[in-house]
């Protein structure tokens, strides 16, 4: 008797429910094992390149062996019955010739470049030349990565990851436990997911303070000099040969002589961001890292200047000295960020810092120093810039405050000293004529830079 359509639907529904149950179980197993593997860190030894018995195989082998040994010891023949059950199941699970001889894992990651918080999709599949069962994945994520979704597929695993903070991130490795067709034995294959470049999400910034002296390049910043811009700065008597469209008719009528509009020259600015990567401080109150906020703020400022067609460069001091010559255009933003993506992996530098590279510091370029002001050595670097005569602005990145134990007077005193030392550093800088502004993470950078618009930033005399 053929089953009717309703019976077919019921059968299909049951199969779908069964598949869903198995998929849910496989995912739960993969997530549990991945959490444990990621907590243990990236594996440092390769997986065994051999087939080994699976969990169910070991269980059946144990039962068969214990039953046979007990039968030998006690002489009770009936104990061979449970042993026979396990042995027959093992015999039926024999893989035969279908077990693959070649087995490898392949991964496809996209995109390889992204911003913080953006999803990165990973697809890992098993390549083989035989018959295999459903692979069981174990994902060991690299530091700073989070797993958003995990789907176990019949041939591998699909992952969706994201990075919380910028950097050249190692995604981690995926181990796939691949069973043979009947699940008797399994073998582990590993694939390295490689790295992904995670760009910082720039802080919001629109203001672009400018120095007193601007280079002789046409741009969008008005200067005090007469030029061919669009901002009217005054009128003067007409000189033969000048264009009639520049005549200022009200003044001409009033003075009974032809008067000409004077326009301000418009120039582009050169700016350099100086990143203090001497240390990465964690704010215990907010959990924010000073290095993260440093580059986010610098990227926001760089984007604001690049939008106004200015040139911007970069110098990073702390670990390895990194520099990027000033440039303009959209690509400069990515070049600038890429040049410091690996700063997090730098070994901290001990002793005095090397002198700044002159090539990365154009004359009269406005220098923004993003620093938590927590290391005295940064004062030497700022002093070098000041000696060169470059206008300089210090943008202080909060590094958090140490939390004193309640009721401990020594802790409270230490906190006061710590605050006093930082205030002394600020006072030292301000005493040298260097403006110090504080940036609050999460807020627009314009709030910090706004006061600088009251007057143009001056450099020191050489």
């Amino acid at each position: 008797m053929n089953p009717g359509p309703a019976a077919e639907r019921d059968g299909t529904g049951e199969e779908a429910a069964d598949d869903d149950r198995l998929a849910r179980r496989a995912r739960a197993l993969a997530v549990a094992r991945s959490v444990r593997a990621s907590a243990a860190g990236l594996p440092d030894s390769p997986p065994a390149p051999h087939w080994r018995p699976g969990e169910q195989t070991l269980r059946l082998l144990t039962v068969a062996t214990v039953a046979a040994v007990t039968a030998v010891v006690t002489g009770q023949a009936w104990l061979l019955a449970p042993g026979a059950f396990a042995a027959v199941l093992l015999a039926f699970a024999a893989p035969g010739t279908g077990r693959p001889a070649r087995l490898s894992a392949e991964s496809a990651v996209g995109p390889r470049r992204c911003f913080e918080g953006e999803p990165v999709t990973v697809r890992v599949t098993v390549a083989h030349d035989g018959r295999i069962g459903r692979p069981e994945p174990v994902v060991s994520l690299g530091p700073g990565l989070a797993l958003d979704a995990l789907t176990v597929t019949p041939t591998g695993v699909d992952l969706v990851l994201h990075a919380d903070s910028w950097g050249r991130r190692h995604l981690g490795v995926v181990d796939l436990d691949v069973p043979d067709a009947h699940g008797l034995t399994l073998r582990t294959v590993r694939t390295d997911l490689g790295t992904v470049d995670v760009f910082p999400v720039p802080d919001s910034a629109r203001l672009t303070p400018i120095p007193v002296r601007l280079p002789e390049r046409i741009g969008e910043h008005t200067t005090a000099h007469e030029g061919t811009g669009v901002e009217v700065v005054g009128v003067r008597p007409h000189v033969p040969g000048e264009r009639q469209r520049r005549i200022h008719w009200p003044s001409t009528t009033r003075r009974d002589a032809v008067q000409i509009n004077q326009f301000a020259a418009e120039r582009a600015a050169d700016a350099v961001v100086l990143l203090d990567t001497l240390a990465d401080y964690i704010d215990t109150a907010t959990g924010r890292r000073s290095l993260d906020e440093t580059l986010r703020a610098a990227a926001g400022l760089a984007r604001a200047y690049l939008r106004r067609h200015d040139r911007i460069g970069l110098i990073a001091v702390g670990g390895q000295l990194r520099q990027l010559a000033a440039g303009s255009g959209d690509r400069q933003f990515y070049r600038l960020v890429e040049s410091v993506l690996e700063a997090r992996q730098d070994r901290p530098r001990r002793g005095p810092l090397p002198p700044l590279p002159l090539a990365a510091l154009p004359g009269h370029a406005l220098v923004y120093a993003f620093t938590p002001l927590a290391d005295q050595r940064i004062l030497d670097v700022l002093g070098q810039i000041r000696e060169r005569g470059n206008p300089l602005v210090v943008v202080e990145i909060p590094a958090g405050e140490p939390t004193p134990r309640p009721g401990e007077e020594i802790d409270a005193l230490a906190l006061r000293l710590w605050r006093a030392e930082r205030e002394a550093m600020r006072a030292t800088l301000r005493g040298r004529g260097i403006p110090v502004v504080g940036h609050t993470p999460g807020e627009t950078l314009d709030l910090a830079l706004g006061p600088l618009l009251r007057r143009r930033i001056m450099g020191a005399a050489r």
Partner: protein, 210 residues
């Protein structure tokens, strides 16, 4: 590392809207109920296996120590019958033993049942319960099922064939020992054949490509 919750897996299907979310919630609830029933079945069969192995009757462990022994046996079986969520791979021995508790339960039931002189019906009960528990464990465990119904039926048939022969009048003890040794040797050969490398050596496989 942060990971999505286990119940969020149905989200990959992309259900949207009130109807979709209600359906997804209903499916998740049904799945939870199904998993609860599976765990209850495993606990029930596992506990029954342990109690049957501990046994009642003359010469059994319960007869020697007393019925109070059934309480810790049942308590251990209730805990050990449900497998760990992520399999026996931890590094520390206590954690490994805890993760492999189902194997401890089934392997421990065999010598426990061998204490004393069991009756045929108790041997039958232990054999059937052990077979049933192993099959249920494979079907409801955290990993993909590997035991096919046909193989399970054949294995149970083979086990049930042994029992009447073992309890038949005659000196079963005379042939049980050589047969058990033979079985052990056959199992060792079978394991060796199953795990032998096939085709090209595994070391020649290329590393995972990225």
């Amino acid at each position: 590392m942060t990971v999505p919750s286990t119940s969020g897996m149905s989200g990959t299907t992309g259900t949207t809207g009130t109807t979709g979310s209600a359906r997804a919630t209903g499916a998740a609830g049904a799945a939870d109920r199904s998993e609860g029933l599976e765990r209850a079945a495993l606990r029930g069969v596992g506990t029954a296996l342990a109690l049957a192995a501990a046994g009642v009757g003359s010469g059994t462990l319960t007869d020697r120590v007393g019925p109070v022994l059934l309480l810790p046996v049942a308590a251990f079986a209730l805990w050990a019958a449900v497998p760990a969520a992520d399999g026996p791979t931890p590094a520390r021995w206590p954690a490994r033993l805890s993760a492999a508790r189902t194997t401890l339960l089934v392997a421990g039931a065999v010598p426990l049942a061998a204490v004393g002189a069991p009756t045929w019906w108790r041997a039958l009960a232990v054999t059937v319960l052990l077979a049933g528990y192993l099959v249920l464990l494979d079907a409801f465990g955290p990993r993909h099922p590997t035991v096919r119904p046909g193989a399970a039926a054949a294995a149970l048939g083979a086990a049930l064939l042994v029992l009447p022969v073992a309890f038949a009048a005659g000196a079963a003890g005379e042939w049980s020992r050589p047969l058990a040794v033979l079985g052990l040797a056959a199992a060792a050969v079978g394991v060796g054949l199953a795990l032998r490398p096939t085709g090209r050596p595994a070391e020649e496989d290329g590393p995972g490509r990225t």
